[in-house]
């Protein structure tokens, strides 16, 4: 097996709690893990309350369908834990959508962290939006070193409209929130783990918060 030679020279600024990646049965956790590995970080994939609470950073991934993913969160009680977390939390794709008030997908009540309701794109455009689109109006340390209109990889049928929590915008049918932030909670609609070197930079920025 190839050893990750960056681990020592690029010691992550994470404390003893490390990085927890929430495991609730939904989502392509492996892609996130590989991206972190390329950056010299390790993640602890877990659904353990104590491990998640003690972590210095938490990533909340997710792909798939909203109502069944929410059901899995509820089954493990993580729906109660996540909104109470105090450390930086990053929701990715469906993870971000579940952090909102509600999703039109499966008429799902979310975690209510971001004060916005997720709705579906209309048939005026192809659904899902699939591919590389630009992000702009960047308003967070999450985007340090990222220039306006950089490309990110997106795959989604539902979107969060613009709100006071919006920290990045993308246009598809209309201008919508491609990233959200409230206090210690961050959410990105795009996949930083699949968005080339600039996506990796965003992951790194999160880990350095």
């Amino acid at each position: 097996m190839k050893k990750n030679v960056n681990t020592v020279s690029q010691t992550p600024p994470l404390g003893a709690g490390g990085l927890a990646i929430i495991d609730y049965g939904a989502g392509n956790v492996q892609s996130v893990l590989f991206a972190l590995e390329r950056l010299g970080f390790e993640g602890n994939v877990t659904n353990d309350w104590n491990a998640i609470k003690a972590a210095d950073k938490v990533i909340f991934p997710g792909v798939g369908e909203a109502s069944s993913a929410m059901k899995m969160l509820e089954d493990s009680g993580l729906d109660v834990l996540i909104p109470t977390l105090k450390q930086p939390v990053l929701g990715i794709c469906l993870g971000m959508q579940l952090m909102c008030q509600h999703s039109e997908e499966g008429n799902t009540n979310g975690l209510g962290i971001f004060d916005v309701n997720v709705v579906k794109f209309s048939n005026e455009v192809k659904v899902p939006q699939m591919g590389w689109n630009t992000i702009y109006n960047l308003k967070s340390a999450l985007f340090d070193g990222i220039k306006e209109n950089e490309f990110m990889y997106l795959v989604h049928s539902y979107y969060a409209p613009l709100s006071e929590n919006t920290i990045a915008t993308t246009n598809y049918e209309l201008a919508y929130s491609t990233a959200l932030q409230r206090d210690n909670f961050f959410g990105v609609q795009f996949h930083p783990e699949k968005s080339g070197i600039f996506g990796e930079q965003i992951l790194k920025n999160f880990l350095n918060l």
Binding site: F34, L94, M130, Y153
Partner: protein, 251 residues
């Protein structure tokens, strides 16, 4: 603005690339991981790996390859070939594939599309359709175009969309290998009748062909193999060309 995607396709047999690979500056041009990295670095928007091996050990070899590719590249990739069950999908996704592509197995068991979409979401289900135009009708074919089915291309496309496919990869058997351009008329019609993204495949020979399939064929992405593998077309030059034609691409 959402950009048009350029997708190199690598045919894999027993964990190695099989044809049309001719990069002089690679130590091992048969190594799919090396090639994948090369394509990711030079601006490919996604990659497709098509497993065409037929041995018993193929699954394990493929899974090992998927893991190595996923560890090495930072763009999305799709794996196709021989996927016939939800269990097949599960192991590929767990090892880092972003999407899977099904073809014959979807025709034989259309419910497979519903099952995969329900479990993992439509975004990871690509249905590949090989079709041949016979007396004006586009007929869906299996086994690399050898076996005709009862399905008309457009009816089958609607069917797979309704069942939860997130994307269609349409290969025209009439155009494949000709280097005379993509089947733009059929592609444009596909884009009219379904509302999911369409990947054009079969017929790429020149940069103009890509421009035509995006403008006239209304394709959302274009896939090709040999023109990229033999470096007849370099991806950075292709993207610059498309940009000059006012086609939105990621530079």
């Amino acid at each position: 603005m959402l950009t048009k995607r350029i997708i190199p396709c690598l045919d894999i047999k027993n964990g190695r690339t099989v044809k049309g690979v001719n990069f002089l500056d690679l130590k091992d041009a048969g190594d799919p991981v090396e090639l994948a990295k090369k394509y990711a670095q030079t601006g490919a928007d996604e990659l497709v790996f098509l497993d065409i091996s037929a041995t018993e050990e193929r699954r394990a070899t493929l899974i090992d390859l998927v893991r190595k590719v996923a560890a090495a590249i930072n763009i999305p990739f799709t794996v196709g070939g021989g996927i016939a069950s939800v269990a097949d999908v599960d192991v590929l996704l767990r090892n880092g594939a972003d999407k899977i592509s099904i073809n014959s197995s979807a025709v034989k068991n259309p419910n497979l599309i519903n099952e995969i979409a329900a479990k993992y979401g439509s975004q990871c289900v690509v249905v590949a359709i090989d079709a041949k135009q016979i007396d004006g009708d586009w007929i869906v074919h299996l086994v690399g175009g050898k076996v005709p089915t009862e399905w008309n291309l457009f009816d089958w496309a609607k069917e797979v969309e309704q069942r939860g496919a997130g994307e269609i990869l349409f290969t025209s058997m009439n155009n494949d290998g000709t280097k005379n351009g993509f089947a733009n008329e059929a592609l444009a019609k596909l884009s009219e009748i379904v509302n999911i993204p369409i990947i054009a495949s079969g017929g790429a020979g020149t940069m103009e062909h890509f421009a035509e399939t995006f403008s006239n064929g209304k394709a959302d992405a274009a896939l090709a193999a040999s023109v990229f593998h033999y470096q007849e077309i370099e991806i950075p030059a292709l993207k610059q060309f498309l940009k000059n034609q006012n086609i939105a691409v990621r530079m």
